[in-house]
Symmetry: C2
Subunit: 201 residues, 2 copies
């Protein structure tokens, strides 16, 4: 911890803030000043929000979601479809799908992607749990919503293999032009995929 | 507060993080995930560091610096020169000067700059305190270290006027090519200033 802001309290706060993604050593000083200007409205509420979340939020034992209930609100929601399970890399992807508002089934958070480079094999991910859930009779479809990257696709193919003996249909997300995407700015791979998968209007 | 991350604790945390400079609603979700992965090493320490700093740090009654001591460590440091006072806009500028390591005098934090657009007049800033400090017999030089912006220069000229009846010499920072600055990338104003203020080697 470098001593720059004069006091131990501020140095420590800036050091910890600088570890957050998107904030570096310089911008963390700016954040410290911003916080000190709004002690009552932002700084103290943030301190208690951090402590609350750290103490109350845990990983759902069924799907791997982060929630203050365990099993989480999605797994215990009786209004949600129990026959469909969407497999995602991490909780951030689950949040993105929930924001879209079109999915009403279950989730399964893998906790990462297979990666030879990073040394992540199947035993690091929640693969066995997924097979167990797929063998449940109420489950009819598994949607693989992995990233369209090399690691994402490797993981998806691995899971297709792993689920081949289950009685569920395995699907994945459509590839194509993103909504609002301008053709001139899209990469060749996306255009090729969109063209191959073209549909009649 | 929009409900996106499923639980009240996480939504509230993301909402508060999104208010920090440099973080928006999207990146705050990423920060929440990052924090939850490092509860013991980052999240709980950050919560207590925020609370500690909020409770212990206050504005120095002499110079306006932020410190857990009041008067602050700089004002009470017997090894520092009492005859020079560097006037800065805000505490961030004081930190920048301290980082440079070449200044060993006192500071005076104005708390902002005069700005007609933002409706900030002399009564909003700590001008009277500065005049009072300048009238102290031990003070011989006031260094105006304001931004080289329109508001910064307006404030500096106003302070020169205000201090004209004091017995202190008033100086300001040299203008010129910044260290590491490439001429081709510098603005015309800086080059003109550097040329006008050229010095024999």
């Amino acid at each position: 911890m470098t001593k720059t802001l004069g006091t131990n309290e501020l140095d420590r706060l800036a050091y910890l803030l600088g570890k957050l993604p998107g904030l570096g050593p310089r911008s963390s000083g700016r954040v410290v000043l911003h916080l000190l200007k709004q002690k009552e409205s932002l700084m103290l509420p943030l301190a208690s929000a951090l402590a609350d979340a750290a103490h109350n939020v845990s990983r759902c034992k069924i799907c791997g979601n982060l929630d203050s209930n365990n099993p989480c609100r999605i797994c215990t929601d009786q209004k949600r479809d129990k026959s469909t399970c969407c497999v995602v890399k991490e909780v951030g992807d689950l949040w993105a799908l929930e924001r879209s508002g079109v999915y009403n089934g279950q989730y399964h958070v893998m906790g990462g992607l297979l990666s030879a480079l990073d040394g992540i094999g199947p035993q690091e991910l929640r693969c066995e749990d997924l097979v167990k859930r797929a063998s449940d009779n109420s489950m009819t479809e598994i949607i693989l919503a992995m990233d369209a990257t090399v690691d994402g696709q490797t993981t998806a193919y691995y899971l297709v293999e792993l689920l081949s003996e289950s009685n569920v249909s395995v699907t994945w997300l459509a590839r194509g032009v993103p909504v609002g995407g301008e053709l001139g700015y899209l990469d060749d791979g996306t255009i090729a995929q969109a063209l191959k998968a073209r549909r009649s209007i």
